[in-house]
């Protein structure tokens, strides 16, 4: 496997793991990381979060990653775990 692909995968996995940890701890989800799939919807179906949870995620995202979401961003950023990972990766580089 090419080293740049390895790096990309590593960075994605690191970010994914940190986002998962953030969701589990801030929302007190009774899931282990292995039970949360990357494309799981956050609201409605999937994790079934509500608007109170959305506020919690937005606050924690700012505290944990220094990322603030405005209303327009959050509709799409909070669709799935992976879309949240995309936002973090697009705004923060080299997450270890």
């Amino acid at each position: 496997m090419q080293s740049n692909l390895k790096e990309k995968i590593q960075q994605r996995e690191n970010t994914f793991n940190r986002v998962i940890e953030m969701l589990i701890s801030s929302l007190q989800l009774e899931y282990s990381p292995d039970e949360l799939d990357a494309d799981t919807p956050l609201f409605g179906t999937g994790l079934g979060l509500d608007s109170v949870d959305a506020v919690e995620v937005i606050i924690t995202l700012e505290a944990e990653f220094g990322i603030s979401l405005d209303e327009g961003d959050s509709i799409f950023a909070l669709r799935t775990i992976n879309s949240l990972v995309d936002v973090v990766m697009s705004r923060k580089e080299n997450i270890q």
Binding site: R12, E13, D34, A38, D39, T45, F76, R79, V85
Partner: protein, 342 residues
């Protein structure tokens, strides 16, 4: 535009209507109706009145053979969804609800016809045709109005409603829908149009990836399984796979060219996966699809793959941003949409 394009456009921008004979709807009555469902479904069955929950029916290998919602209305339970045939599902429930006898399964498909509505303004059309109670129905909610069963659940990423109307009233309701629908630029959506929307939104499709003997783990559908239950059909296979660890996973992708189902996906000449479904997305202006990719190639955000000489990259699902996310029954209307959404 083709019939499929017209239907697709209506689903994504206004409202589309379809008769949906492939939707199964079973009503379970009796003092043990919920116990019977609890014995066969991999999700938790405690439901409030009018609540629906999305789950699957699994065979002993943990492979889904039906994509279903379990629902509660008063003391009755419902199983609504796609896959298999009704008689097979009824026999399967009866066989697997061991020791549970006080329940009766009724196929509502024999007495009712299913009308499906999808689109950012589906709620408005349904409210005009069937009454304003529709407006108060939350996502994954159901209600019964004068022998009409209304389920709010869709697979297109837009507002979605399934209505079961008595068969003898079907033509009257369709006439009313078509008359009222004209003002909403409503169109009929065929199966191809709806399947493309399902694909773009990465909803599970029993007729596509559901045919590959995958489990909810590979399909990224663990959220449809209970964390507490371990006795449903297929539970042991799921547990064994969890312990062994996954080797492949379903991932969303885009490519500029058409690729065939089952096409091999390579990276640097090495086979790393397979295309399970794909189709052109007018919204994405690319082909989008679902691939079964080997670990660790299964992550979103990677490019450099190839399928049938076309470049392919993995993306986070869903592949599209749905208009329904910006439309609210409390603030918007199809008739004033141009002023509201600019």
């Amino acid at each position: 535009m083709t019939e499929t394009e017209v239907g697709y456009h209506a689903i994504r921008n206004s409202v589309a209507f379809a008769e949906e004979p492939e939707l199964r709807c079973l009503q379970l009555t009796g003092s043990q109706a919920f116990e019977a469902l609890d014995a066969v479904c991999p999700c938790d069955i405690f439901l409030q009145d009018g609540q629906m929950r999305h789950t699957l029916l699994l065979n002993e290998n943990g492979n889904p053979f039906a994509d279903v919602y379990v629902c509660r209305e008063a003391e009755n339970a419902y199983l609504v969804g796609y896959g298999s045939n009704v008689d097979e599902i009824i026999d399967w429930i009866t066989d697997h609800a061991t020791g549970i006898t006080d329940f009766l399964i009724t196929d509502l498909g024999k007495s009712h016809a299913n009308l499906a509505f999808d689109g950012p303004y589906a709620w408005e059309l349904c409210a005009e045709v069937f009454g304003t109670n529709v407006l108060g129905l939350p996502y994954l909610g159901m209600l019964v109005l004068d022998d009409i069963f209304i389920f709010r659940a869709g697979r297109t990423g837009e507002y979605g409603y399934h209505l079961l109307v008595p068969i003898d009233q079907k033509n009257t309701w369709i006439e009313k829908v078509l008359t009222t629908g004209a003002a909403f630029e409503m169109a009929r959506a065929n199966e191809a149009a709806r399947a493309q929307c399902v694909l773009e939104n990465f909803f599970f499709d029993i007729n596509r990836e559901g045919q590959y003997n995958l489990t909810p783990l590979e399909l990224q559908l663990q959220w449809r399984l209970s964390k507490q239950k371990d006795t449903y059909p297929g539970a042991q296979a799921i547990q064994e796979l969890r312990q062994a660890g996954l080797t492949h996973r379903l991932t969303c992708f885009t490519t500029p060219d058409a690729v065939n189902t089952n096409a091999e996906i390579t990276y640097d000449g090495e086979i790393v996966g397979q295309v399970l479904a794909s189709g052109y997305s007018p919204m994405h202006k690319n082909y989008v699809g679902k691939a079964l990719l080997r670990k660790p190639y299964w992550h979103a955000g990677l490019d450099g793959f190839r399928a049938e000489d076309s470049p392919l990259k993995t993306i986070s699902a869903p592949a599209v941003n749905n208009l329904s996310l910006n439309v609210s029954p409390y603030h918007h209307s199809f008739h004033t949409r141009k002023e509201e959404l600019t």
